[in-house]
């Protein structure tokens, strides 16, 4: 009799659990009810969608963004997420990003495609924030405050052979350590005013001045010709004209008269 009662309780518990699981599957919001808030969407324009579990929600200004949310922007999409530590993530068009982790001053973002501009808030006196942007082939760890990460797939670049995936990092303030995701020890420090690229499985290139190495940055169309590389010291001729640009070539001196030929009259 007692055994029958225990079996009944176990059966009921199992049924409740099954029902809960079923409900969670039907409504993913319940499954993510425990996800921590990462911040809010402070600016939204164009097509921006949030994937939360199995649900896809259109992003709206002021909506809460949770840890684990995948943010996808369309061709005209743009979103700025104000994180709870007052850092910002600005995602450009045709981009795809997940906020993997955000707790205190520790943040990890996974950029699967497109351009992301990160402003890392550094509170005076507080410990340096641990802010990382991961792409499929690179990790950018911020020691600075403002930098862009662009991940491009399916694009070839001169001198890179058949490589078709690139992570470009442009640093505007502070310092960013960039490494290949498979070789974190082989990273380079990119100072403010410089940019670097992780091409495929290569280690990052040496940092070069912003806008000059062919790297893409936030707001610039992917694959566009290196604008600054041609613009800075663009080959506009600066040679001054000679002292007299209209002076004609002096006439050739008259040929010396050879005199009468021998024997001539």
């Amino acid at each position: 009799m007692r055994s029958f009662h225990t079996e009944k309780i176990a059966y009921r518990t199992f049924s409740y659990l099954l029902l809960l699981l079923l409900l969670a599957a039907i409504n993913p919001a319940i499954a993510h009810a425990q996800a921590a808030p990462a911040g809010t969407a402070s600016q939204v324009s164009g097509t921006v969608q949030i994937q939360r579990g199995a649900a896809t929600i259109p992003a709206t200004q002021g909506m809460q963004i949770m840890v684990g949310d995948r943010i996808i922007t369309g061709d005209d999409g743009h979103i700025v997420v104000l994180l709870t530590d007052q850092s910002t993530l600005e995602l450009g068009d045709s981009a795809n990003m997940v906020i993997d982790q955000h707790a205190g001053s520790s943040t990890r973002v996974n950029l699967a495609g497109g351009a992301l501009r990160s402003f890392v808030n550094r509170t005076v006196g507080a410990a340096a924030p641990n802010f990382e942007v991961h792409t499929p082939n690179a990790v950018a760890a911020a020691r600075g405050t403002l930098f862009d990460v662009v991940y491009l797939l399916g694009l070839k670049r001169p001198t890179y052979g058949d490589i078709q995936n690139f992570t470009d990092v442009s640093v505007y303030e502070g310092l960013v350590n960039l490494a290949n995701i498979n070789n974190p020890a082989g990273g380079v420090s990119v100072p403010a005013g410089y940019e670097s690229t992780v091409a495929g499985t290569n280690n990052p290139s040496g940092p070069g001045p912003l806008g000059m190495t062919g790297a893409s940055a936030f707001g610039g169309p992917a694959g566009a010709k290196g604008v600054a590389a041609s613009g800075i010291l663009s080959p506009v001729s600066t040679v001054p004209p000679p002292s007299c640009p209209v002076c004609p070539e002096p006439p050739a001196p008259p040929a010396t008269n050879p005199g009468p030929a021998p024997g001539a009259p």
């Binding site: 800075i232 040679v239 000679p242 007299c244 640009p245 209209v246």
Partner: protein, 257 residues
């Protein structure tokens, strides 16, 4: 004798086969090299870019002075080839004792005004390397036909201090003078907003009424302000026209199409 002849035939066949294989491999590696250096060579650049550069500057020396101003447009066609057009206005004062191009009151003998219209191609030979080839004609006090080559390349781009080498040569078919400038500058510092450059350069002239090679040279300094896409370069030195100073300012606008 017949056996030897057959051997020679075999040898010739083997060599021909080897040559064919080598040729095919060379072509394949050349094609690979070409694809590596110029991926998408025959594709139209999308999005296209139109660069519009406004520039002005001046040159002053003990013997003469010039002021020039103009526009240059660069329209991309493929990622490696573009079209270039340039219009430059020149004002020139000449004469011993020339002192001020903005107040040519004393010491000068004549003032010349002419415009130079040029058009041609922009060849993006390598990342950071451009060659402009321009043909053109002057109007105003000069009616010369000109041909010009402008070469600019960035070396050590993936470093903190890349170096730019530029070379510009213009031949004037009216007076047969070839004017050439050469410049070598390194980026001293790059920040979020500024680029500072330092180096040296000069110009030399030959042909026509200039019997022997004449030239001038000196150190130069450059600065570029990224937010406004404005740059300036100044040079001072000594040469055939004695002491001289030179300043150029340029502003770039880029439109993505």
């Amino acid at each position: 004798m017949v056996r030897m002849h057959k051997r020679l035939q075999y040898l010739a066949c083997a060599l021909a086969t080897l040559a064919c294989v080598t040729l095919v491999q060379t072509n394949a590696s050349a094609a690979g090299f070409f694809d590596d250096l110029y991926p998408g060579f025959f594709t139209i650049q999308r999005p296209g870019t139109l660069n519009l550069i406004g520039f002005t500057g001046g040159y002053v020396s003990d013997k003469y002075g010039t002021v020039q101003e103009g526009f240059q447009f660069e329209q991309s066609v493929t990622p490696y080839i573009g079209a270039v057009g340039r219009i430059t206005g020149y004002q020139l004062w000449e004469g011993e004792g020339f002192d001020n191009p903005l107040n040519p009151g004393t010491g000068h003998e004549a003032r010349l005004n002419f415009a130079r219209f040029q058009g041609g191609v922009d060849l993006n030979l390598y990342p950071g390397t451009h060659l402009f080839i321009l043909g053109g004609r002057d109007a105003g006090n000069s009616h010369a036909s000109t041909i010009e080559g402008d070469f600019s390349t960035w070396l050590f781009l993936h470093s903190l201090h890349p170096v730019n080498f530029s070379f510009s040569s213009n031949h004037n078919y009216e007076n047969s003078v070839t004017s050439t400038s050469v410049d070598l500058q390194a980026i001293v510092l790059s920040t979020r907003r500024w680029i500072f450059l330092a180096g040296g350069g000069g110009a030399f002239y030959v042909g026509g009424f200039i019997p022997d090679l004449q030239g001038q040279g000196g150190p130069d300094l450059g600065v570029y302000y990224r937010p406004w896409n404005i740059g300036a370069s100044a040079q001072a030195g000594y040469g055939a026209a004695h002491q001289y100073g030179q300043l150029s300012i340029y502003k770039q606008l880029t439109f993505f199409e």
